[in-house]
Subunit: 426 residues, 2 copies
């Protein structure tokens, strides 16, 4: 920890303020994670990463920078990691998942902004997130009004690049997206001084696909009757996927999956028999936002899937690996990153509801909880139709809205508890 404090000071962080977060996090992690019984042993790696999430990985990134490497921070799964890795840089997620950062965001943004965006800007402006200090470039996107306008604020304090997304999915939008990928390549070429090669891009596509394959393998365990790993643990692993070195992450995750294979052979489940199975849909849960999984799983139910950016939307689809030219690979990236992501930022977005129905069947969920981060207008509006359609399909559904505070914890426990009772009775 002493090492970390010097490291953080050198990064220009407000170390005293950051101490408050460092004090709170171990307790939260202990409550949610270490209290679980019968966790897989190979969770140790992920426990270790989280325990020192503002130390180990940021130090690696700074070492990389000392050798001339560049680090790119991104906020959204629409921005292709492959470009960054293909050009010899490293892509990282950014702090956005704790109430700790929200008041800082509210100093520069309207309070009627979603907590994820407020937390992001708070983490930067209050200098309490190492990733937000060290990145050489921050890549925002035009997914939603809140983010689009927040980047204007952030750009006054940080080096920003905006990846512009289309709002529809027609042929012309596809061409628009491909052009944005080309522009992004140019920008990262400028940043790194490197030139994109087809070999480099192909390797990066395989690198990131392998991470997705490992996450798919992990999530397939959740479809079983005996689920060998908790929803909380899967969420944690998915959250770490945004930060960790992709090759190492993939290896560690596959080691965990090997252990889970053994558990399956032995019929091990982390849940009581007949625990209700719940899938979540909606807005992302970024680290350390474990609130809903904790509420659901401590009431004896299982979270078996997430139709979320921190869930299936992140890993379910691969980039086609057969491209031989850069243009063919840009086409494959567009298939994956535009056509393949059914985000509420698109209109229309009926495919997302089909995804929810399909995934709830894949994960054998007894019901769906559709989650909206407060003031996220796009998912909030879509939620009305999600609920209507799921009811039509006879899939029990509960729509909830929440933020990062604990103010609504009791109310959520009550509402979710009643929903779980309903699932048990069904």
């Amino acid at each position: 920890m002493a090492d970390n404090r010097k490291f953080w000071t050198d990064l220009g962080m407000d170390v005293e303020k950051h101490d408050l977060l460092c004090e709170a996090l171990p307790e939260a992690f202990g409550d949610v994670y270490l209290s679980q019984e019968n966790r897989p042993e190979k969770m140790d790696y992920f426990n270790m990463v989280v325990a020192d999430i503002h130390g180990i990985r940021p130090q690696e990134l700074v070492e990389f920078q000392k050798n001339g490497g560049k680090v790119v921070g991104t906020f959204c799964i629409h921005v292709p990691d492959e470009i960054v890795f293909a050009l010899g840089a490293i892509n990282t997620g950014l702090c956005s998942g704790s109430q700790f950062w929200v008041p800082g965001g509210e100093k520069v943004l309207p309070s009627a902004t979603c907590p994820l965006i407020k937390a992001s800007l708070g983490a930067r402006f209050e200098r309490t997130c190492p990733f937000f200090r060290l990145a050489d470039l921050f890549v925002g996107e035009t997914t939603c009004d809140g983010k689009k306008k927040a980047w204007e604020v952030l750009s006054k304090d940080a080096p920003m690049y905006i990846f512009d997304l289309p709002q529809m999915k027609r042929d012309k939008d596809r061409e628009f997206f491909k052009d944005e990928v080309r522009r992004y390549i140019k920008r990262i070429e400028e940043l790194t001084g490197n030139t994109l090669t087809k070999e480099g891009l192909k390797d990066a596509i395989v690198l990131i696909n392998n991470k997705r394959r490992a996450l798919q393998r992990l999530n397939a365990f959740r479809t079983l009757e005996n689920v060998p790993i908790s929803g909380r643990d899967v969420l944690l692993i998915t959250q770490i996927a945004f930060y960790d070195d992709p090759a190492r992450f993939t290896q560690k995750l596959n080691e965990l999956c090997d252990e889970l294979d053994e558990r399956v052979k032995n019929g091990v489940s982390v849940y009581p028999k007949d625990a209700p199975r719940v899938m979540l849909s909606g807005t992302p849960l970024s680290i350390p936002n474990w609130k809903l999984h904790q509420i659901i799983e401590t009431q004896g139910a299982a979270v078996v899937g997430e139709e979320m950016c921190t869930g299936s939307r992140y890993f379910e689809k691969l980039v086609d690996e057969s491209g031989e030219t850069i243009e063919e690979m840009i086409d494959a990236l567009t298939d994956r990153y535009m056509s393949g992501i059914n985000c509420a930022c698109y209109t229309p977005n009926d495919e997302r509801i089909e995804d929810i129905i399909r995934l709830s069947k894949y994960f054998k969920a007894d019901g769906v909880i559709d989650v909206n981060l407060k003031f996220c207008q796009i998912y909030d509006t879509e939620g009305i139709e999600v609920e209507r359609r799921l009811k039509e399909e006879n899939i029990p559904v509960l729509g909830i809205e929440t933020d990062y505070s604990d103010n609504d914890a009791e109310q959520l426990k009550t509402r979710i508890g009643a929903f779980l009772e309903l699932l048990k009775d069904a």
Copy 2:
């Protein structure tokens, strides 16, 4: 009125519910408008239009339809009226400015949606707006998250077309917009069965420009020391511009302006000497939203300008009339409708703040009130920078957030009153 009731019934309206609006509107209009002293006589035309706004004009439109004409309803100043008129159809605004329609909107949209959008959908779904019954096509746009997702809901009940807007203003976005104009032409050609000609488009450009010129002429009176017409009256005229026949509107407005010329010669002002001069900036004020003008002007101040969609953003810039081919005219429309509108939906949008500063000087405003309709994230976020920049320019500024209810009337009166005192003392 008996005639109107039959007419409304034939349109499929909920006449009993609509009666409640009909009962409330005359009193509101009386309070805000007829109570004013020393109004120009030529306001009579506009009084008459408003007094029967759900009767006279809708009846004209239905007559037009009986002869095979088509009516297109639009929600946003980004969608070029010229296309519709050039193809022999009529463009009309749609109900969106009263709390009366909000509860109906809240049945189909999240309550955390801006009142303008909720009122629009409420007016349609509850069948209490003739324009929302009679239009042959409704044209939404992708300006903001709230609208973009609301059109998905509306499209389940009404024939919709979406005009897709870019989110930036680069060369590629300009090409994107031009392509959207071409798509829109095709759609209106389909609707009307007519084919766009360069003569037709040129005539429509002149027709709409003449309306803008008359509004520019009207607004120039507000720059004078003796202002011969109230801000309330100018707002009303601007609101009517969205509904009325453009040629007739232009003629009637020019007649009013002739009267105002006389007033200027005679040094007539509708305001007390030394009344503080206020410009509004921000989100639109659609009919019958007269709340802020009423609060400001009944406290002895003058509203001298609006940097709003229901204000300068609507009429300040003309479409270049020199185009000789349809493509040249599409280029001119793109100049006007994309490049020429500094809406908070674009990123970055620094030009809007330059507009506010420039217009506040043009209108010789003593201060600016920056208005945000609750839950409008784009203007809300931009408002923080608007306030910062105006303070930097030593322009007094008050940021307020409001909706269509009267709940905050007293609080607004107090805050605005204090701001006006500050302007008087300056």
